[in-house]
């Protein structure tokens, strides 16, 4: 039933590790996003894909690599994790890049030790 799902919901890992966060939406949307919410609750766009094509790529370290195997999935892979990567990562989707509403997943809380 979940419209936008993310796995895992919590991720605790050591510095230097590589980890992935998965996102899936069953709404039939064409556009998906990754947002980062830092410790001060500030939310900022990282990436957006439309029909598996990257359309937004904000200033994000290239240790972060999004991958969209199909329209329903947008995964986020992070290499060489750093302490500053600790945050909550939200996946979202919308019908199109021009759609009014974005639907958010439950978030993944990443803690880097």
């Amino acid at each position: 039933d979940t419209a936008v799902s993310q796995t895992p919901k919590y991720l605790v890992t050591q510095m230097g590790n590589d980890k992935s966060i998965k996102c899936e939406q069953n709404l039939g949307h064409d556009t998906m996003y990754w947002y980062k919410q830092d410790s001060k609750k500030f939310l900022k766009i990282m990436f957006s894909y439309n029909n598996k094509e990257l359309i937004i790529n904000e200033t994000v370290p290239n240790r972060f690599s999004p991958k969209s195997p199909d329209k329903a999935h947008l995964n986020l892979h992070i290499n060489s994790l750093e302490l500053g990567d600790s945050a909550v990562y939200f996946c979202a989707s919308s019908f199109s890049p021009r759609a009014n509403e974005q639907f958010f997943g439950p978030g993944t809380r990443l803690t880097v030790l």
Binding site: Y33, K41, P106
Partner: protein, 117 residues
């Protein structure tokens, strides 16, 4: 670049009372969308209300309404008859509708709303 400012990091309201959360934004565009999202302790981001800039009429959704002042670039959220379940972090957000522009949401820093019983 667009910016969104929420000048009230924290607000509190008595249950059943009314509270207004402030939001201002900066843009050179004439057509855009504004949103209020709610983030309860569960972390889920929930859309509360949205406003199209070309519409003069203020949006309303049950107990939630906005005061949209386009010239002043102000977009405040009014919550009437506050309920305990309204306690959450509230984010104001902007999205461009300009063709060819990035369509991501630009968020304010949030206002933590406490509802007192």
């Amino acid at each position: 670049a667009q910016t969104v400012t929420q000048s009230q990091p924290e607000m509190s309201v008595q249950e059943a009372e009314t509270v207004t959360l402030s939001c201002t934004y900066d843009t050179s565009e004439s057509d855009y969308y504004l949103f209020w999202y709610k983030q309860p302790p569960s972390r889920q981001m929930i859309l509360v209300i949205r406003q199209e800039a070309y519409k003069q009429q203020n949006a309303t959704e049950n107990r939630f309404s906005v005061n949209f002042q386009k010239a002043a670039k102000s977009f405040s959220l009014k919550i009437s008859d506050s309920q305990l379940g309204d306690a959450a972090m509230y984010f104001c957000a902007y999205r461009s509708s300009k063709s060819g522009s990035a369509r991501q949401l630009t968020f304010g820093s949030g206002t933590q709303l406490t509802v007192l019983p």
